[in-house]
């Protein structure tokens, strides 16, 4: 049984690989993550660091050529990683829903929006699609801030990005899930719509009390929305803390680098980028995957991956810099 640190979701030592012609992509390398009921967790990191793969693993949607080779995902008291597909179906949509990155692509282009929401409501409530379900569809569309009379009979290509994302939100929240995973819900939208969508999500989640995992690469969005944040790098969770702690007192060299690279209004110093590039996950660096780009890398960083340690209450970090006995081994 995995270590239980949150009362809703516990992910421990999750390893996911993808088998490709180029070789085995080690997409997740022992991710640890946990959250409580009603909490909002932001997962941030560069493209390709495993944010979306983590989300898909929770949903049980890792498909060929991908595979979860190690680790457990514990949702409340259910071990999702050992569940069969036909029992997982009862959790998807009902207890965990997901909002996707490109709202227009996540809707079937040949079916009316109303029917697609009805399908998910019918599934979540075990009802045949009929009048009752459609009444619910109208209610959800209204809650999502859409004019249902106009929207219900439209096809996805007739919606703007913002409207489509509202439809997705209506769909995802129609079953009132315990956990909502939003995979970059705003990155395909323009800035004004982004703000609207985040506000809507914020308002609805406050009302319904769902826990949310917000996946984003926008630090500002995460700061605004989340209670806690997890920073990921190349398939590892490197820092986990309350949002304010991450922003005011970042510890991991990667988090620091990330925050230095965020432009801000009124900022006068030069933006700093992190030297080097994201490692190829077919041949990841040994030890800590960040060490080739890390300014304070030590000998041990090349050999072993640093375990996750709690440096302050609720502030976890995976870096040897914060273990006293290892500081003495530093050779630089």
């Amino acid at each position: 049984m995995p270590k239980v640190r949150g009362n809703l979701l516990n992910i421990s030592k999750l390893k996911v690989v993808f088998y490709t012609y180029r070789g085995i992509i080690k997409a997740l390398n022992g991710v640890e993550l946990w959250m409580n009921k009603g909490e909002r967790l932001g997962i941030v990191g560069e493209t390709g660091c495993g944010k979306s793969v983590t989300a898909l693993s929770i949903m049980g949607l890792i498909e060929q050529p991908g595979e979860i080779i190690e680790g457990d995902i514990l949702f409340e008291d259910k071990l999702l990683t050992s569940m069969k597909e036909n029992t997982l179906i009862n959790i998807r949509g009902k207890e965990i829903s997901m909002i996707f990155q490109e709202p227009n692509a996540a809707l079937n282009p040949v079916m009316k929006v109303g029917f697609q929401i009805a399908e998910s409501i019918g599934k979540a409530k075990n009802k045949k699609i009929g009048k009752e379900v459609y009444a619910e569809v109208r209610r959800m569309l209204e809650i999502a801030g859409l004019d249902w009379e106009r929207t219900i009979n439209l096809y996805p290509h007739e919606l703007s990005g913002g409207m489509a994302q509202r439809v997705m939100i209506a769909m995802a929240l129609s079953s009132n899930p315990k956990l909502l995973i939003a995979d970059e819900p705003t990155s395909a939208l323009d800035v004004t719509i982004q703000a609207q969508i985040l506000e809507l999500l914020d308002e609805l989640v406050k009302k319904l009390g769902n826990a949310v995992i917000l996946i984003t690469h926008d630090m500002g969005v995460a700061a605004e929305f989340c209670d806690k944040m997890a920073v990921m790098y190349a398939g590892n969770m490197v820092e986990y803390a309350r949002t304010t702690n991450i922003f005011e007192n970042p510890h991991h060299p990667y988090t620091r680098g990330l925050l230095k690279a965020v432009p801000k209004i009124g900022r006068t110093d030069e933006l700093q980028s992190i030297p080097g590039i994201v490692p190829d996950l077919v041949n990841p660096p040994s030890g800590c995957r960040f060490h080739p780009r890390c300014e304070s890398a030590m000998k041990i960083c090349r050999k072993d991956f640093p375990p996750l340690v709690e440096i302050k209450s609720g502030h976890y970090i995976a870096c040897y810099l914060y273990r006293k006995e290892n500081i003495q081994n530093a050779d630089t």
Binding site: R92, A105, P109, M111, S120
Partner: protein, 303 residues
């Protein structure tokens, strides 16, 4: 908004209806324009139109029965009374050709339904599930493709027993491979789309995903291919009929009529020639129409 619609008159309702469907109407107008600017597609349409009307109004076009024999009127050359002449049993060739159109339409219809059904089910299952299912189903398809079409159809009818129903089954069993390959390719493409992942995330089961989400997206190239293949279906049916493996006498199937007349070909040329021309004419029509449809639907040519 709905209340507002109730209160206005009939005329305004029609106007509103047309207003709302303007893009669709425009699109149809454009299609019509494209069709009109390709004379060959037009010719194909006209031929198929003639073919279908002949099949529907067969009893009105001729007063002779296609099967009744008049031995005293055998082997008459084309004249004003029998415009295509008569055969060795005194049957009117024109009336046999006209009623033959019905048989051909029936063959096309049934073969299309059976072969598309088999092909699409096999193809989409293979494409959607992938892995072992894909491998097994596609190797079976390859086995069917390994034989020449006509030979395989001949073997199947010979095994099942030569009659019209078995001919249709045999042609379907030969013809489904094309749709299986197309359906598989489309299903593989659709399967990886984000909306399929999204519907899976909602908790939909495989059957629902295939029936409501993959199938509607995969079917359109199959339909286009189907119109392109109708000519081939007629040719195969006529070929089998000619070899005596298809429709049995006295059914007025074109291939069988051609076959009936072949021993009289030198002196009574009209028995084989007219049904043969009918076959050529209709196959040409289907091919021209198929090419036309392909060009009209091709978004790259749609300017």
């Amino acid at each position: 908004m709905l209340n507002a619609v109730k209160n206005i008159g009939q005329k305004e309702k029609i106007k509103l209806f047309l207003e709302q469907r303007k893009p669709i109407i425009e699109d149809w107008k454009h299609t019509y324009y494209l069709w009109k600017s390709t004379p060959l597609a037009m010719l194909g349409t006209v031929i198929i139109f003639i073919f279908l009307t002949t099949a529907i109004f067969a009893p009105l076009l001729t007063s002779y029965s296609p099967t009744e024999q008049f031995m005293e009127e055998r082997l008459l050359p084309p004249s004003s009374q029998h415009i295509f002449g008569t055969d060795q049993y005194g049957r009117d060739i024109f009336s046999r050709v006209v009623y033959g159109a019905r048989v051909e339409v029936w063959i096309i219809f049934i073969v299309s339904i059976i072969s598309v059904m088999i092909g699409v089910i096999v193809g989409i299952a293979a494409g959607y599930f992938g892995g072992a299912a894909d491998e097994i189903l596609m190797r079976i398809t390859d086995m069917f493709l390994a034989f020449p079409r006509l030979i395989l159809a001949m073997v199947l009818t010979a095994v099942l027993g030569p009659n019209l129903t078995n001919t249709m089954i045999a042609i379907s069993l030969v013809d489904w491979t094309v749709y299986a390959r197309l359906g598989r390719a489309e299903a593989m493409k659709v399967k990886s789309q984000p909306y399929i992942e999204a519907i899976r995330a909602v908790g939909a089961k495989n059957f629902r995903i295939i029936a409501f989400h993959v199938l509607p997206m995969s079917i359109s190239p199959v339909i286009v291919q189907l119109t392109l293949r109708m000519g081939t279906i007629i040719l195969t049916a006529a070929g089998l009929g000619f070899l005596g493996l298809g429709a049995q006498p006295p059914t007025p199937e074109w291939g069988a009529i051609v076959s009936d007349g072949r021993s009289y070909l030198v002196d009574q040329w009209w028995i084989s020639t007219f049904p043969g021309m009918a076959i050529a004419f209709v196959v040409l029509g289907f091919n021209l129409l198929g090419d036309g449809i392909r060009d009209i639907l091709d978004p790259r040519l749609r300017r």
